[in-house]
């Protein structure tokens, strides 16, 4: 995690030296504004990965949330009912996948893959076109600027994302459930023998991930002001990359939520740097993310070897 923080600082300083107008507070805030939804999704995924599982359905659930919100708003539902329903849907989807994974002993990989197909399929069943959102409450959320000191501003989505991070960090590091998550990821057998509620923990982490994805979808709907089945394609990979870059071990049992936040920031900063560079094409983003993933996984390997 120190490495990630160092990398973030180094990239920021290098950017500041190289480009004019880069080293301002607003650039960091913009990264938050543009990646608030990814942050929320990655937080949910951190829970799952800490137990040693994986959730491939997050991107599809995000898309489904935008689609459901947009179509219900179009049908004249009030905004609070829409948001409540979408969040409930995320909980049901996540909880369902968690239950199948635990009770029938099927690999999380394949169950969440099915969940991904299901959610994307539902998107296309609702509609194949992009549905615009014109609801006043949603547009107000999208356009509000909350001024901080000295010309800095953030969007309400950032506040929600930061609140999610704080709540999640508290739950993970200061509650019984959080300890159970780490214990299950460290060794499911030992956790079971210690009398920890492994079944409840495993199902809950997938539910948390489903809820976070749905909330991420609502934030994306604020950001894009539309619902579309092709929103957030490949987002599960960005989220996994952010968690890994943040130093969480994919085998489970070790990692911090703050690391995930830094991981998302690094990903966001890569995009910013590439857009500042101008001459570099957008596909370099993917190559950089791939290279970064490789470096961080190699680092993880080295560290865990030294520990052993």
């Amino acid at each position: 995690m120190l490495v990630t923080a160092g990398l973030f600082a180094a990239m920021f300083v290098a950017g500041g030296v190289r480009y004019e107008g880069f080293a301002t507070g607003q650039i960091v805030l913009n990264v938050f504004i543009d990646n608030g939804f990814l942050l929320v999704v990655a937080v949910g995924l951190t829970f799952v990965i800490l137990t040693g599982g994986i959730d491939l359905s997050v991107g599809a659930v995000v898309a489904l949330s935008t689609m459901v919100s947009a179509s219900l708003l179009q049908a004249g539902w009030p905004w609070w009912a829409v948001i409540a329903l979408v969040l409930a849907m995320g909980v049901v989807l996540g909880g369902g996948m968690g239950a199948i994974i635990h009770f029938f002993g099927i690999q999380p990989f394949i169950v969440t893959l099915a969940g991904m197909f299901l959610a994307r399929g539902l998107c296309y069943t609702i509609g194949t076109d992009s549905i615009p959102i014109t609801d006043p409450a949603f547009t107000a959320f999208a356009q509000t600027r909350i001024d901080l000191f000295a010309d800095l501003w953030i969007s309400p989505s950032v506040l929600i994302a930061v609140a999610v991070v704080l709540v999640a960090a508290y739950v993970l590091h200061y509650t019984r459930f959080g300890r159970a998550v780490y214990a299950t990821g460290g060794s499911e057998q030992s956790a079971l023998l210690m009398g920890l509620p492994v079944a409840r923990t495993k199902i809950t982490v997938y539910t948390v991930s489903g809820l976070c994805s749905a909330l991420g979808g609502v934030l994306l709907a604020f950001y894009m002001l539309s619902g579309y089945g092709l929103h957030a394609v490949g987002m599960e990979l960005d989220a996994i990359a952010a968690v890994v870059i943040g130093g969480t071990l994919l085998t489970g049992g070790s990692g911090y939520l703050l690391g995930t936040v830094l991981g998302v920031l690094v990903l966001g900063l890569i995009q910013t740097v590439i857009s500042f560079e101008g001459t570099l094409s957008s596909w370099w983003t993917k190559i950089f993310i791939g290279a970064l993933l490789l470096v961080f996984i190699l680092l993880q390997r080295l560290m865990s070897r030294r520990g052993a």
């Binding site: 994986i54 199948i100 009770f103 029938f104 002993g105 099927i106 690999q107 990989f109 394949i110 169950v111 893959l113 099915a114 969940g115 991904m116 197909f117 299901l118 994307r120 399929g121 539902l122 296309y124 069943t125 194949t128 060794s187 057998q189 990979l237 996994i240 990359a241 890994v244 994919l250 085998t251 094409s281 596909w283 370099w284 983003t285 993917k286 190559i287 993310i289 791939g290 290279a291 993933l293 490789l294 996984i297 190699l298 390997r301």
Partner: protein, 336 residues
């Protein structure tokens, strides 16, 4: 053979459904010396998926997984089309593309076996970076080529049959021979079942793993050539998108266990055919094609539940068969 029963029944049911809904579904005609018909179309359009799934079977049999096949498909098509558009001969273009795929596969294998990274993550790197690489090769454009010789690979005919089907049949035959007539299949299953034990038994587990990933990338590369040759163009962004998921699905439907240690090539081919037939069925019986994904979700869930010993025990009130249970326990002990 018992584990091939369910996939076979599923395929038969899907085909019957088609016969009921579409007139002349089973008829195969000869026009201009080529075979035509719905069944031939299923085989022809399913050829790339079958190839990728065959490679994926080998990787999954060693207890791994390869997420990068979709990107490899895109890279191979992109490189071949770029070479051809720069007036290289088709032979050089194909050789270069497949050579690069071999290198990419060996890289995956090196990360998994040499460094010991989890397969999902090791291949995730190439999956993300590979898409970028494919777009880098094509410069973000869609390269179109006009080469009859290249067109043959994916869209041409030879001996009245679509060339793609012949390629798939040949690779299937070679793989089946290598794994079922030689000791290679046994070695792969040993590595997948228990890498430590297989190493103690004198098997070079690392070399077997690297070989499986290389073979998988080669299959994906050939599939990439087929896909790009069928449309005479290379699209770094969309070629082979999500094919890794379909391939994994095909392998699972075919009865290969995702935990490794046993595999069925015939099952995989059946699985890939089921997926392709499902897609065709959805088009032909008039269900909106957008719902294809919903059906796939349903199929994956059903197949996985049927294969899960816990589900069988709960639903059919049968005790899990002793043999797989013993194997599972053995595995837990080693990892714990």
């Amino acid at each position: 053979m018992r584990r091939l029963l369910w996939p076979l029944l599923a395929l038969a049911a899907l085909l019957l459904l088609n016969v009921a809904f579409t007139d002349g579904f089973l008829s195969i005609q000869i026009k201009d010396g080529h075979l035509y018909g719905s069944l031939i179309d299923i085989l022809r359009f399913g050829a790339p998926l079958i190839l990728v799934s065959l490679g994926m079977t080998l990787v999954i049999a060693t207890g791994g997984i390869d997420l990068s096949v979709g990107s490899v498909v895109a890279i191979s098509g992109a490189l071949a089309c770029l070479q051809i558009s720069e007036d290289a001969s088709v032979f050089t273009a194909v050789a270069l593309a497949l050579g690069l795929c071999l290198a990419l596969g060996a890289w995956n294998g090196f990360l998994v076996a040499g460094i010991g990274i989890q397969p999902i993550i090791a291949t995730l790197i190439l999956m993300v970076a590979g898409r970028g690489l494919a777009q880098l090769i094509t410069d973000g454009q869609i390269i179109t080529v006009n080469s009859p010789a290249y067109k043959l690979i994916g869209g041409g005919y030879w001996l009245t049959l679509p060339f793609g089907i012949l390629v798939v049949a040949a690779i299937w035959a070679v793989t089946a021979f290598l794994t079922r007539r030689l000791a290679l299949g046994l070695v792969i299953e040993a590595v997948g079942g228990n890498p430590v034990a297989s190493r103690l038994a004198g098997i070079d587990a690392r070399r077997v793993t690297v070989m499986a990933y290389t073979a998988c990338a080669l299959c994906a590369g050939i599939a990439g050539l087929m896909i790009s040759s069928n449309v005479s163009s290379a699209d770094g962004n969309n070629a082979g998108l999500w094919i890794e998921l379909d391939a994994i699905l095909a392998v699972v439907i075919g009865g290969t266990s995702l935990t490794g240690g046993r595999f069925s090539l015939t099952g995989t081919v059946l699985g890939a055919l089921i997926i392709q037939t499902l897609t065709t069925t959805i088009y032909s019986i008039g269900v909106p094609p957008e719902t294809t994904l919903l059906f796939k979700a349903l199929v994956v869930t059903t197949v996985c539940l049927l294969q899960s010993p816990a589900f069988r025990a709960k639903v059919f009130h049968r005790r899990p068969r002793p043999a797989p249970k013993a194997a599972a326990e053995e595995k837990v002990k080693v990892t714990a």
